[in-house]
Chain length 379, copies 2
Amino acid sequence: MRFLHTADWHIGRRLHGFDLSEEQKDAFQQIETAAKKYQVDGIIIAGDIYDRKLPAEKSVQMLNHMLRQLNLKDHFPIYAISGNHDSATRLSTGAPWYRDTNFYMHTSVAQSFQPVELPDVQLFLLPYFEPFEVQQYFQDSSLKNVSLAFDAIVSKMKTLFDPHKKHILVSHFFASGSSQTDSETQLKVGGLAAVPVDLLSAFDYVALGHLHGKDAIHDPKIQYSGSPIKFSMSEAHQKKGFFIVDTDHIQDRTFVPLKPKRDVQQISASFEKLTDPKFYQQLNCDNYFGFLLKNQKPIPNVMQRLRKIYPHIASLSRAAGYEINVDYDGENGAKLKKANPMEVLNQFYQKVANEPLSDQQKQWAEDALQNAHDGRKKP
Amino acid sequence: MRFLHTADWHIGRRLHGFDLSEEQKDAFQQIETAAKKYQVDGIIIAGDIYDRKLPAEKSVQMLNHMLRQLNLKDHFPIYAISGNHDSATRLSTGAPWYRDTNFYMHTSVAQSFQPVELPDVQLFLLPYFEPFEVQQYFQDSSLKNVSLAFDAIVSKMKTLFDPHKKHILVSHFFASGSSQTDSETQLKVGGLAAVPVDLLSAFDYVALGHLHGKDAIHDPKIQYSGSPIKFSMSEAHQKKGFFIVDTDHIQDRTFVPLKPKRDVQQISASFEKLTDPKFYQQLNCDNYFGFLLKNQKPIPNVMQRLRKIYPHIASLSRAAGYEINVDYDGENGAKLKKANPMEVLNQFYQKVANEPLSDQQKQWAEDALQNAHDGRKKP
C-alpha cells in the first residue's frame, strides 16, 4: 500500500503578521496533485491541522474545503489525528460520520486502540495527548510523564497487533534526539515531554508530526514529514515537502518537495548591498525576508526604504549590534548640553544622512529655534 | 409522515450568569424520548442550535453528542438549519458527510433550493440569512431587505414544487405579527427584518425558529416551536415544549410540553412574604427566580438573605422603586453636616435595621469616633 504522509498544516497561521492562507492553499493543491499522480491509497495527516484551538471562521472554511476535496471529491482515504495546536473536541465534530468514506479523524487516546484495518497494514492513529488523559484511560496515576504514558500506550497497542500485517503508527510528539525550531511550541525542560526513539521500535513505520523539519530525526523507520510551508525564520533553510511511503519498501520512501508560492529567506547583508539593484534583481523580491543588517550605524527610515524593494519583510535586525555614539550622561552629555543647538543638529544630520545640512535646511532650523526662543520670552 | 419540530436550543446559553447546561441536557433527553415514543420520521431543528457563533468547547462537545445520539444511535433523520446565533461556517463542518445517514444541516441560501425529497413531502431548509447573501445569490442588488429577499427565495422554491407532494418550509426569522421577548436578539426597527405572513401561504407547513414562544403566531399552517427551556425572565410565563406534526393532519399538530429541570419564575412580593416559610415552602426554591420586591425601604443584605432560601436568584429589582430619604444637598444636607455623629448613626441604624443601636454597638461607635478624633489631632 502507498501512503502520502504530511503533517503540521497549521491552517490559520501567520508569519510575523503576514497572512499565509494563499501559501497554504497553494501547498495543498500541490499535495492533492501529487496524491493523484502517485495514486496513493490514503493520506496521513499527523496533527496540528489548525494553528489554534479556536480557529477563525476563515480557517474553518478553508480546512472544510480541503478535507471535502480530498475525501469526497477525490475519494482518498484520510488518516488524521489532532496535534497540540488543535482542539481535539472541535476537530472531532463530524468525525463519527466520516467513517463511511474512509476518513478517520482520531482525537482521543481511546481511539488509538481501534486500529484502521487495511489489507496488509494496521494503522494506529494516536493524537497528541497529555499524560493526564492516559492516566485516566488506564486508571494509573503513575503515568506521570509523556514517556511513561507512551510506553503504556504502545504496550496495549502491541496486544492488538495482527502478526500478518505491517504496523504503522501515526502520532504527534517530540521524539528525543530530534532538533527543534522556534515555531514549534516551547517544550518542557528536562525531556519530560519527549518520547525516546527506542519505544517506537515495535512499528514498521512511524509517521510523525510536531517538528516542522523533515530532518529532525534520521531513522530507517521514523519520519517527521515536516510542515508543507515555512512558518518561521528559523525554518528558512529547511526543505519543505511530504513523503510517499510504500509499505513494501518503507526505507525507500520518497521525499516530494513543495514549491513555495512565496519563499521565506534569511539574508545577512549590508543596507547598501540590499538596496543595490545588482543584488536584489537576482532575488524574488516578493518572498518573505528576514534581514540581518550588517551595518552598525543608524540608517534613517530603514524599514520604509527596504519595503519599497521588498514588500514582505518579516523581520529586520542587526547582525553585529547597533552602534549609538550619543551619550547623554557623563562628559559627553555635559558637552552636548553646552553646545550650540545648530552645531548639534549639524553633527547629528551629518551622522545619520551622510551629508551636511543644506542652506535651506539650516534656514528652517534657525527659524524654528528663533520661534522657540521668542515663545519662551513672551508667555 | 410525522415530524418532531423543535428550535432555538441555544446550547451554551447562560441565564444571568447561571450555567443552563444541565437543563439543556435534560430537555434534550425528553425530546429524544418523545421522538421514540411518537415514532417520528424525522426531527426538525429550526436554527439557533448554538447560542454563540463561537461556542465554547464544552458546548461543542454537548451538541456533538446530541446529534450523534439522535442520528447515529437512534437513526432519526435530522433536518436542521443555522440561525442568527449560529456560525453557518462552523455549523457546516462535517455536513457533507451527514447526508448518508439522512442528516441534513443546511447553512446557506443555495442549499435551500435542494429540497429534501421524501415520499410525500418536499422539505425546504432555509437557514437564517442576511439580504446581502440573497443579493449575491440572485445577482440582484434590489433585494435590499428580508421581505424582498424572502419573496425572491419563495418564488424560486415554487418552481421546484412537486405538485404530488406536500411542501414544508423550515426556517428562522421574525414573521410579522409575532410578539417578541427580551432574550431574542434585538431586531431592526421599521419591520425591515420581518417577513410578512402572507409570503408563507405557498407552504403546507412552516416550521419556524427564532422567537422563543410557541404562541408568537397563531396560524393554521405557521408555527414557532419555541425554545425547549426558558432563557430569560420575560419567558417565565411561556409554556415550553415542541410540536409533533403529521403531514396528513397538519392543523391538528400536537404541542408536547417539556418539564423543566429547574423552572424560571417571576415573583412580585414583599421581602417579608418571600422570607415567610408558609410562602416559600410551597415553591420549588431550587428554581431560577426573578424577584420584584414590593418594599420601597432599604433592606440590609437583601440578596444574601434571600439567597439562603433561594440559591438561584437570577434578578432582583424593586416593583415600585427604591426610597432613599437621605439628601446630602440643600437644607437636609446642611442639617446633617451639623448634627452629632452619634445621632446620625443612631437614626441611620434605626432606619435600616428597624431597631436601635445596642449599648455594645454604641460603645464601639464611640470608641471608633474617639480614635478618629485623636488621629486627627496627632499627625
